[in-house]
Amino acid sequence: MARRYREIGKAGWGYTAITGLVGFIYFFPVFWIILTAFKTRTDALAVPPKLFFTPTLENFQSVFFRASITTGTSQATDMGLYFFNSIFIAFTSVGLALIVGTLAAYAFSRYPLKGNDTYLFIILTTRMMPPIVVIIPIFLMFRLSGLAGSYWGIILLYTAFNIPFSVWLVKSFFDELNPEIEDAARMDGASERRVFFGFCIPQILAGLSATFVFGLILTWNEFLFALLLTGVETRTVPVAMARTLGGEVGVDYGLLAAIVTLFLIPIFFVTFLLQNQLLRGVTFGTVKK
């Protein structure tokens, strides 16, 4: 008897349940953090952990306003500034890296140098070691040049870190394009500038979005260099988060969870906005058209 094939696009309940379970396991830590953000200190530390409790917004309030230990009056924290810093620094540096990376990738793809692959390899070597091994020279460079603690310092550093990745990824998208399309545009009278902006870029928007999101996630969560190279004014959220740990009153898990929850929002938002593009971007060229 011939075996019946399931119609594509219709999974059974069993498969859906298994997928749901695996998905939940992945999402659980995030879910738990978000839950904790709405718990009082007592609920957060309760043993066994409480799944049902009366939610409170206390923790979110104390992210931005906290009672001073000495005077007891409510004071504004600098958390708003840190959130601004994180957003400003991450978006600017990833954006810059994408611009520089895209231009370089186009050049590498369309106007190869003699020894093109060697250059590409050299660019990638900067990502081959853990960043911590270069932390001392970089720290010294920043101290000597006066970039330590400034916005431009950390932005340039993150840009430099993101460029290799951007060049490699975006180059692969350019490589996938049909160069005859560019030739056709040229023959139609398009200038080189227009060929690039009007014909190449629009074809790889999905890829650029994917590159942007990957870079953003890496930069957004970066801690080590932010800890060493940002000052009081330019501190990012991961560093500020770490500073809430410890102290005379112990770890305030509710507060920490609230910061993490807020910290997730921008990335959630960007990824959600670009998700259709992202899916196309990561599968770019894997399916023959």
Binding site: A185, M187, D188
Partner: protein, 365 residues
């Protein structure tokens, strides 16, 4: 007046010589075909004429001007690429309008021209769609439309039919001829398919290893191929090559024939290659000369619908022949048949150089 003059083009890719002295002229309003197998330099030649290739030598003259060093933009040429190269992010309408916008036409003018061209090529219903949603034939017609909308003086076509199925190819061949007649532009058409070259080209240039080895009208190339290469490039199924030896008295002996065949100019003992087109072999009838009829065994048949290509063996010499389907249907693989040819249809070539020596001739008895 010669409209396009391609003079001694040279182009290397590393150690490979893609173009090795490519030269030919195309007259104004002519439909010229470049015929050659893949990687013989057809695409490179078209790209060089368009200005898309860096040349190691040679010159391209177009409309009386040396355009070898001129920028790609504004040469007054357009090209239909093998991949069609439609702009995937633009609608069909924007694709068609692009060459016009670049030349600075007013938007009313652009609209009028786009409408005209889409009408001509029957793609009006697709104007708002993206190229990826179109069928192969529609994409092809949009590509043609984009190439002709700006009324170029020269249209370059790089194997534009390779990506289409057989039926569409047949339709598009007629379409290209119609366009050429209606628009009167000079067309340079590169193809590896001899059928396309012979049916469409007013003249055909046969390419081998980056240079033109023969130029002529399709009929001339078919009837009087200058060498074995041209003989096998032109004509389908390919010409049969048979080895023969001169037997003196301007005659050659074929191993499977009982009597020698007249071949003026062939010396005694000289070995020659004889070319015999599959269409020139027929079933031996009552009128066939005794000298050129011989028994053969069918060992493969390829029915093509209207005709059947039959592979036969005569005394261990294999050759192809073509029979009309209703006649071929009477025979099976393994059957012995009696076939014949007209000696005047024999092409005589030098086996070492491949050069043409002459024709066979009817016996003067």
């Amino acid at each position: 007046m010669s409209n396009l003059k391609v003079d001694n083009l040279r182009r290397n890719y590393g150690s490979v010589e893609a173009l090795d002295g490519m030269s030919f002229d195309v007259a104004e309003g002519e439909f010229f075909c470049l015929l050659g197998p893949s990687s013989s330099g057809k695409t490179t030649t078209l790209r060089a004429i368009a200005g898309l290739e860096e040349l190691a030598g040679g010159a391209v003259h177009f409309s009386g001007q040396d355009v070898t060093e001129a920028p790609v933009q504004g040469r007054g040429m357009s090209m239909i690429f093998q991949t069609f190269a439609l702009y995937p992010h633009l609608s069909v309408e924007a694709n068609l309008a692009h060459p016009l916008r670049r030349s600075g036409a007013s938007s009313a003018d652009v609209k009028k021209r786009v409408d005209e061209v889409s009408e001509l090529l029957r793609v009006t219903h697709t104007l708002k769609r993206k190229p990826s949603t179109l069928s192969g034939g529609e994409q092809q017609r949009v590509a043609i439309g984009r190439a002709i909308v700006g009324r170029p003086k020269l249209l370059l076509l790089d194997e534009p039919l390779t990506n289409l199925d057989a039926k569409l190819r047949h339709e598009m061949r007629a379409e290209f001829k119609r366009l050429h007649r209606e628009l009167g532009m000079t067309m340079l058409y590169a193809t590896p398919d001899q059928l396309e070259a012979l049916t469409m080209g007013e003249r055909v240039g046969v390419i081998k290893d980056g240079k033109v080895v023969a130029i002529g009208a399709p009929r001339d190339l078919y009837q009087h191929p200058g060498d074995t290469y041209v003989a096998q490039m032109v004509g389908s199924p390919p010409i049969n090559f048979l080895s023969a030896t001169g037997s003196g008295d301007n005659q050659v002996e074929l191993p499977f024939l009982g009597l020698p065949v007249a071949a003026p100019g062939v010396a005694s003992g000289q070995s020659v290659t004889l070319g015999l087109r599959p269409h020139d072999i027929s079933l031996a009838g009552g009128g066939s000369s005794r000298a050129t009829r011989f028994p053969a065994k069918i060992h493969l048949t390829e029915p093509l619908g209207d005709v059947t290509v039959i592979d036969v063996t005569a005394r261990e010499t294999g050759m192809k022949m073509v029979l009309r389907e209703e006649i071929a249907a009477k025979y099976n693989v393994g059957d012995d048949i009696e076939i014949a040819f007209d000696p005047e249809d024999l092409h005589v070539f030098d086996p070492s150089t491949g050069a043409r020596l002459g024709n066979g001739a009817t016996q003067k008895n």
